[in-house]
Symmetry: C2
Amino acid sequence: MRIDFQTSPETYRHWKIDIDGEVASLVMDVDEKGGLFEGYELKLNSYDLGVDIELNDAIQRLRFEHPEVKAVIMRSGNDRTFCAGANIRMLAGATHAHKVNFCKFTNETRNSIEDASEHSGQKYICLVRGTAAGGGYELALATDHIILSDDSSSSVALPEVPLLAVLPGTGGLTRVTDKRKVRRDLADVFCTIEEGIRGKRAVDWRLVDEAVPNSKIEEVTAQRAREFAAASDRPGDGPGVSLTPLERTFGEAHVKYSTVTLEIDRATGVATVSIAGPDDGAPASADDMLAQGAAFWPLRAARELDDAILHLRANEPEVAVLVMKTQGAPDAVLAYDAFLEANADHWLGREILHYWKRVLKRVDLTSRTLVAIIEPGSCFAGTLAELAFAADRSYMLIGGFEQDNRPEAALQLNGHNFGRYPMSNGLSRLETRFLGEPESIGAAQARSGEPLDAETADELGLVTFAFDDIDWEDEVRIFLEERASFSPDGLTGMEANLRFAGPETMETKIFGRLTAWQNWIFQRPNAVGEDGALRRYGTGRKPDYNRTRV
Amino acid sequence: MRIDFQTSPETYRHWKIDIDGEVASLVMDVDEKGGLFEGYELKLNSYDLGVDIELNDAIQRLRFEHPEVKAVIMRSGNDRTFCAGANIRMLAGATHAHKVNFCKFTNETRNSIEDASEHSGQKYICLVRGTAAGGGYELALATDHIILSDDSSSSVALPEVPLLAVLPGTGGLTRVTDKRKVRRDLADVFCTIEEGIRGKRAVDWRLVDEAVPNSKIEEVTAQRAREFAAASDRPGDGPGVSLTPLERTFGEAHVKYSTVTLEIDRATGVATVSIAGPDDGAPASADDMLAQGAAFWPLRAARELDDAILHLRANEPEVAVLVMKTQGAPDAVLAYDAFLEANADHWLGREILHYWKRVLKRVDLTSRTLVAIIEPGSCFAGTLAELAFAADRSYMLIGGFEQDNRPEAALQLNGHNFGRYPMSNGLSRLETRFLGEPESIGAAQARSGEPLDAETADELGLVTFAFDDIDWEDEVRIFLEERASFSPDGLTGMEANLRFAGPETMETKIFGRLTAWQNWIFQRPNAVGEDGALRRYGTGRKPDYNRTRV
């Protein structure tokens, strides 16, 4: 079964988007029978990857299709339960790789809520009536303002440790301490109380922003939404851009989109993603961009690359290396970048730039070896050059191949490489790369706009290796073979550490520290063994723990 | 077999300290037959926990016993090999808990090298002749200046990923990217080359500070040592303080020291560490402190607490909760604190303050639930109050127990609680605690010097719970029982995340991010399974990996 990350509101089974002027409601009403796999029912508004794929889609559409929406109210369609979190039977039955991938995607989705709030003038309010437990509370934590119904049955809880012997998997611990800045000992108490915390105490401990009697909660929520909306810089009217279905065809070993091709060689464990640059000039005006809509090259390429990466992660677990290539005219890419830069304050230009930022972060966080192959005819320029800087290594050809009359490989920088697309650590990819030699950033910046050939790029420290055509084939082949021979786990740990030098942010804490601990726990018999808590949940039998503290 | 963290130079089997005026040499010459356990030989200057226990002791003695030493040259007693890192057969045969504990202690030891350099005027130079591989290079990374012999057989390497399918376990990846700021793609190349990097290339990539021909290396090393020594503020002459053997007796379920008692209740999984405050006044002068030497209460208590924590970690793996208690006169603790503060610039006063900082960090990093029980007769004041702030939770008694005429419990703060003892994250424990309400730090500081009873401490947010004697016993008992019933792994992950809110440092990256990934990998069949790399190392058979990328 192929997991598909594309969906649209007409086919949602679990979410509903209601638009009322500048305020949208995102209503979670999970279809118990709508699980992605067999073997579990999505009771109590619990979720699996399928539910989150719809949420991710809804968040994207609110940004692109609804420029008029300035505040989003997240709420449950079920009055007794806000959300019970990730489905436990699903977790108990899933492979380790699926659990880890599921957590990564749900984390990225919650980050995208915070991104909409921070950068897109679209604030999120969470109305919690009933229980918000585990992933349910973590969903609330991703919003700007949590309103808890002040009654005897509404509560927030992170019961994972006492109940399931695992950690909250979508940033809960980090957001409790670092976003909501709950006092650490109170956080300790909170995370060990299965039934959670209610009312005033939840407010006093900073777990929620306000506790409101049920009789007034709709009124207060609407009022907060109006307040947030009033402070938004979104245009407040349409038209939006319809995120039409992607053009794509799946083959046995490839996926072809309009600008992106993903090819998979399962024998060698190498996948190649190729992105074609634009074949026309940038539009003349923002109105033209709006008129092009989802066909506008930067938006189309971002959506296709995003989908290709997600497909690779979820459906091709044995691919060790992702080779990144580009083809096209560098100048055309730069022209689109310049157009976007000129329209960075237009709501759609802004959305597209932030979307590229998120897609590039998704690349950084992909647990496969990333290598950029920079050959004749490629267009690693501006936005697309970021792929070379996201790579664990890059190989660039000096000169050309025999009987190949494509233009020699060139790297080309523009302003987008110097801060437009920060990584999770808050630095640009070049700042991260040159942490030890900040003067190299200036040297590279001074060459912005110039086509940099392989030897120049090598001197500037912008590529890992430059080889001529005599060595090229052997060097690249040996690297790919060698990489595929290493332990996938060792590489995952190594790359997760080497990619994010320098400062830490809540995001890097979630993906580095919290995720690594969770992955560790997801391997431990106390959680996933025959007698572990995940397997025994709901059986009436208590888990049997090995008591050794590690 | 009990692992003992106490040793002294007369009994070292693996290290030698040579003092030559203001420069010391720390010579690693591992006794192959001197392993802590059966089943492996410590070939090629490889190490196990026993080797590192001696190193830790040597670093401590250089600080306390040798105020004249301003620079330390770390070198090998073996001309062909600097150090081959952690012994692989030891790792392959060790339990998961031992591996993790071993890495934690070796990390703390390397941090103590950096602490001596940063705070104690004692700089470390590493002379690498032969191979410095894995943990061997990580040892070099902990020093201030790495001199590599420029010959065909000397190299630095982190071969763990290609060779063993694990990560460098003592901070290697983090120090490569964040301390030496090696470019991330070059770091990727470096970490996948089994044979390592030599000479000029190692300098160019910033892996070492200089590559020097063998004929000149002794001269250059001596010169660098003189340069570092010239910049040191250490006194340059004696006498030092002899770190005499600890007074301690081991019982079946306790260890008794002169000021510290550790009691272990294996049935409930609860250990209690009790620290007795000083029973005399602080000395009159720095000379008196020097004369008291290792008997000086703050130094004695720090050494005893340090040993008790290490003993607990290594030898009592099934203890879930560490209860921390104190007994004595708060004023006496405060008088010693005031004395140390007044002598903070005296070399010995400085050493003792930094040692307490390190011991408290060791407490923070101990993977057991930490709870402070603040009862009548206790002295949680100044330095000892930090134990309450290090705890995951604290319980304080309101009023007294019946028929107990000890003084009511009081917390008492002084300047030591506001920056003297930073945690690994660079913040004081109160700054970490009050990350979300910095005004509470000021409110607490305004009450410095006052005995704060339980209700006041509770209002100020300094304790988790205050109960009177009616509720006390049940509340504490229920907490201890509940905690011991949870999954040890879940608690380890939860506590590791909740304890270190706020900023990240190289230390928190090493203990949070890197360690968590390493622990994950240490569980994976690709490393530790029958066909995994650790088990197959040296057998001539290649490991057989499951290729799924997680």
